[in-house]
Every structure is written in C-alpha cells, then in structure tokens.
C-alpha cells in the first residue's frame, strides 16, 4: 500500500499536464501535415516523400515574407498560396507523367523532388536556423511555467483549417468531386469529372496545408533545411497508424502519437522520445496492420 502511495506521489502530475498541452499542440500541427499526406495518398496512391520538404519550404517562404511585410498573417497566407502553386506545378511536371505506372515509381519521383527542394533550401538560406517571430507574445501561467497563448492558437488554427477542409470535402462541389475520384477514378472520369485536374488540385491543397503548418510551427523551433525529414517520418507513422487514406484516423493518430512522445520526453531526451512513436508503429504493424483508428475490417 505504501509503495503504491509513494509511486502515486512520485508521479509528476504538473509535468504531465504541461506535456498534455504540448502534445495536443504538436498533435494538431502533425494532423495538419498528415491530413494532406493521407489525402494525396487516398486519391492518387502517391506517397508524397516531398511532403516534409513542402512543410520546410512553407516555413522558409514564411520567413522571407515576414521579413519584407512584417505581418505574420500575410506571411501565413502568402506562403500557403505559393507552396500550393509550387505543389501544383510539381504534380503536373513530375507526377502526371507517372499515372498508370507502378505506384513505387511515384515514391522515387517524390524522393527526387525532396532532394532537390532540401538542397535548394540549404543553398539559398544557408545552414543556420531562421526564426519566425510569433504574431503576439501573451502568456498565461500553467503551474510554474509561463505558457504562451500562441501555442494554443496554433492548435485552434490547425483544427479550424482541418475542420474547414472537412466541410469543403463534405459539402463543396469540388469536395464532392474529390471524394468521387477517391472512390472510383474511372467512374468519376466517366461522369465528366476532370480527374487529372482533381489530382493536381488535391496535391496543391495538400502542399498548401503542409506550408501552413510550417509557418505556424516556425515560431516554436527554428526553421532549417533538414526539418522536413522529421515531419515526413512522423506523418508517415501517423498515416500508417491511423490507417492509410483515412482522414479521421490520421487526426486521432497524430494526437495519440504526439501525446506519447510528449510524455516520453519527461523522462528521456526529445531525440530519444522519437523512438516511442517508432515502437507504436511496430506494434501497430504487428497486431493491427490496417491501422489503429479504423473499424475492424470484416
């Protein structure tokens, strides 16, 4: 009995609460990245290896626009639009010729894109991390910590973007086109939906979402050329754990994994906390390869 009490007293409740908030904040950003990835996969069977680089590119464009305009919101919107356009251009030039080939060629092509983008960023911006100034610097007290409001705002904004996107998919005309193309490409084409352009459009949306999350996340840590890989790996894990091509599952998995990583980093260094999400992935693959957050397939 005493041992249990001692254990309960040793649990750092305040830290756990702080890490819960942290985990939800990163989880919402991750959800924004991963939902673009899972959407692109769901509609055209393309695993976008360059997704992390689009995230990174978005953050850099945010840095540049912020430096010239001085307004965070202008940076956010301009960066999203620019990267969406870049994404559309990339899709038309490299992925469209690959339609109908082995899906594995698309993973190679997007890997090539990611190499080019990452090295371009290194070349153009140098190896030193850049910082994005947050739009406002209010704090509230969370136990002994001064917790920035901005972080909560990020979580809210990410949720708003994802929610808006979901509404668009559900009720918008083009959203219905997208869902139709996901369900049956050939039939959608037969009904007069311009399937190749739907693909381009979806890739652009995914790229834009990645860019938006890049700008939002920029103020939390520095922006550097190598940040893309961490995010694309996490997003891959989320997409597999949540069930490929399943939007709701990805969101649940993002928060789940970010929370686990946040709790793990109470006891080990953040670099090692990443291993927790790897372990979750392995366990998922072993026991439920279709994904944790999907109904059991019959």
């Amino acid at each position: 009995m005493d041992a249990i009490l001692a254990f309960l007293q040793a649990v750092p409740y305040d830290q756990i609460l702080i890490q819960t908030v942290n985990g939800i904040v990163t989880g919402m950003i991750l959800a924004l990245v991963a939902s673009g990835l899972t959407l692109i996969f769901g509609i055209m069977d393309v695993v976008n290896f360059a997704h992390g680089e689009l995230f990174m590119l978005g953050a850099y464009i945010g840095v540049v626009v912020l430096a010239t305009s001085g307004n965070f919101w202008v940076a956010l919107i301009l960066s999203t639009l620019t990267v969406a356009l870049i994404g559309a251009a990339l899709q038309v030039t490299t992925l469209r010729p690959l339609i109908g080939r082995d899906p594995l060629t698309t993973i190679l092509a997007t890997f090539g894109i990611s190499l080019v983008l990452q090295n371009y960023a290194l070349w153009a911006f140098g190896p030193v991390a850049r910082k994005i100034q947050e739009p406002f610097t209010g704090y509230f007290t969370l136990f002994y910590l001064e917790y920035p409001w901005y972080r909560l705002l990020i979580a809210g904004l990410s949720a708003a973007i994802i929610g808006g996107f979901w509404l668009f998919l559900k009720y918008g005309t083009y959203g219905i086109w997208i869902r139709a193309t996901t369900q049956d490409r050939v039939m959608a084409q037969a009904m007069g939906i311009p399937v190749p352009w739907v693909h381009t459009f979806v890739f652009a949306i995914g790229a834009g979402m990645a860019a938006a999350s890049g700008v939002l996340f920029g103020p939390l840590v520095g922006v550097n050329h190598a940040m893309g890989l961490d995010w694309v790996l996490k997003a891959f894990i989320v997409v597999v754990v949540g069930g490929m091509g399943n939007l709701g599952g990805s969101i649940a998995a993002s928060i789940f994994i970010s929370l686990l990583e946040a709790y793990a980093s109470i006891w080990v260094s953040p670099a090692q906390a990443v291993i927790v999400s790897f372990v979750v992935l392995i366990l998922t693959l072993l026991f439920r390869p279709t994904g944790l957050f999907v109904p059991t397939p019959k």
Binding site: L98, L115, F236, F278
Partner: protein
C-alpha cells in the same frame, strides 16, 4: 544461340574485370580512391537490387545495414588488438545480419509503399540509437580506428596500400557479384522473381512468400553490411551520417540510374552518380549543392528512362 551469349557474357565480364584490375596501376591516387569508392557503393546498391530489382520491394532502409556493418567493423578493430581484417568483416556481417533479421521480421509483413516506409523508419531508429548513445558509438563524432593489415594468418601480413586495397575491394565485390548472380539464377532467385511478378499467384502455387521475403531481406542486408565493412576499412572511421536515411536514398538512386534487376547496373549507377557529383563539384566549386542537378536528372530518368542506363541489357545480363 544461348552458348554464344554465354561466351559473350563471360568475355565482357573478363574484360571489365581486367580493366578494373589494371586501373589502379595507371590512375593517379585521387581517381584510384574514387574507383574503389565506386565499387564499395556499387556493392551497397547491388545488395539493394536483390530487393528492388528481383523481389519488387523498394527498401529505403539500407543505411541501417550499411551502418551496422561499419560499426561492427569498428567494434572489432577497436576492441581486439592487433586489428584483424577478417574479424572486422565477421563482426560487421554479424551486426548487419542481426539488424537485418529484426527489420526483415517486421517489415516483410507489408508490401509496396508500406514496406518502403517501414524500412525507412527502422533505419531511423538505428540512426537515433547510434546518434544518442555517445558512450558506445561516439555519438555525432563517430569512431576512428587504424586500418588493419591485409593478412592471412600464418602466411603473410602486409599493410594496405591504395593499390592492394583496391584489389581487395575488387575481389570482394566480384565474389559478391558472382554469388548474388548465382543466387538470382537459382530456384530460390526464381521464386523471388515470381514474387515480383505476381505475389498472389506465387502464394497460390504453395510457396511461403513471407519466408522467401525474410531471406531476401537478410541476404540483401548481409551484402549491404559487407559494403559497410569495406567502407569502414577504406576510410578508417564509422560515423552516424552513414546510418542516416540519405545513404539509403542514394542506394535507391544508384539502382534507378543504373538499371534495376541487373546487378551490374547499380554499380554503373553508383559510378554515374559519383562522376556527376565530381563533375558538378569541379565546375561550380565544392559548395555547390550537386544534389539539385543530380536530383533533377534522377527525376527525368524516372519519367523518360525507367529502365536506367543498363536496362537495355537486362535480359542479357541475367542469362
């Protein structure tokens, strides 16, 4: 007909081998080293060709096998005095085989894209472990050690010069090529190719597809580990950079550029890639990000030349 092809094939093999053997005697030091490096990277690419070209599974995790080969060799060279070449190879192979068994057991449950992602994530696990476990692996700085002597116990022992190192690497790579070629032509290799062509039918015929895939990944990992050992011996260090995912990516690039499913293609691809890197480095200076033009060439090759440089000879090379 078939006999004439066989003669032509072995004649071509002999000519290339002879050229590579003579090369260090005529080339200056820099290009000699360069050629040795091409062979080592070629061996890594060749090992992943077993998966990409013959079994139809794209691995993005070969850096784990390569890196464990390196660190295995480092362990042998640092712990056992005097440093012993064969012990380094043995340790490296054991390290790579252990990792390969682990990776193979989990990742072969998945196919296509999922396999690629899982292998990538596994290699990142090993990267994080090696990067953060500073007491054992030296962390970010890696490990440096002395190069062992080229020795056969009881017969002779000479220190490596750049020529003998080249010949040693050439010997190992040639032997690996012949072994891998024999394996891909064996009944086992045929099963792997039938998995690539039609997995469901292979299973329906009664082959245990999972078991074949596990063995294929382990085989591939073993040879990748061998490449890691050679690289460690050539450069006298082991660093976490070589466990990083970029190395796996390069192995895939070598394969695609050279031509998958040919075994020699990946070596040619490695040569092509390294020459491009050198070429851009010489023209635009060392700081030039050569991966931008090389990446663009890679994408163009995927779209317009999916067979790679040696793809036209694929049928002939596998005869």
């Amino acid at each position: 007909m078939s006999k004439r092809f066989t003669i032509a094939y072995w004649a071509g093999f002999g000519i290339v081998l002879a050229l590579l053997t003579v090369a260090p005697l005529v080339l200056p030091e820099f290009w000699r080293r360069f050629l040795t490096e091409i062979l080592i990277w070629g061996l890594l690419a060749m090992s992943s060709d077993i998966l990409i070209g013959y079994t139809g599974m794209v691995s993005f995790g070969h850096s784990a096998f390569f890196g464990l080969g390196m660190y295995g060799a480092a362990a042998a060279l640092l712990m056992v005095q005097p440093p012993n070449l064969w012990l380094a190879i043995a340790y490296g192979l054991v390290g790579a085989a252990g990792v390969a068994l682990f990776v193979a057991y989990f990742s072969t449950r998945l196919r296509d894209i999922y396999f690629a992602i899982t292998t990538l994530i596994f290699s990142q696990i090993f990267y994080v472990i090696i990067f953060t476990w500073t007491e054992v692996t030296g962390g970010e700085n890696g490990l440096t050690f002395r190069r062992p002597a080229l020795a056969i116990p009881g017969l002779f022992s000479v220190p490596f010069t750049s020529e003998t190192l080249h010949w040693f690497v050439l010997g190992v790579v040639t032997a690996s090529y012949l072994v891998l070629r024999r394996i891909t032509q064996s009944p086992f290799g045929m099963v792997l190719q039938s998995i690539r062509e039609n997995e469901a039918r292979t299973r329906a015929i009664g082959y245990s597809v999972e078991r074949y895939k596990i063995v294929a990944v382990m085989l591939s990992g073993l040879f990748a580990g061998l490449a890691g050992v050679l690289y460690a011996i050539q450069n006298r260090f082991a660093a976490p950079d070589f466990v990083y995912f970029l190395v796996s990516g390069e192995a895939v690039i070598f394969n695609v550029m050279g031509g998958i499913g040919t075994l020699v293609g990946p070596i040619a691809g490695a040569g092509f890639f390294l020459l491009l890197r050198e070429f851009f480095g010489r023209i635009f200076g060392d700081q030039f990000p050569y991966l931008i033009p090389v990446g663009i060439i890679f994408i163009i090759m995927i779209i317009f030349m999916p067979q790679g440089l040696l793809g036209f000879a694929r049928r002939w090379l596998n005869r």
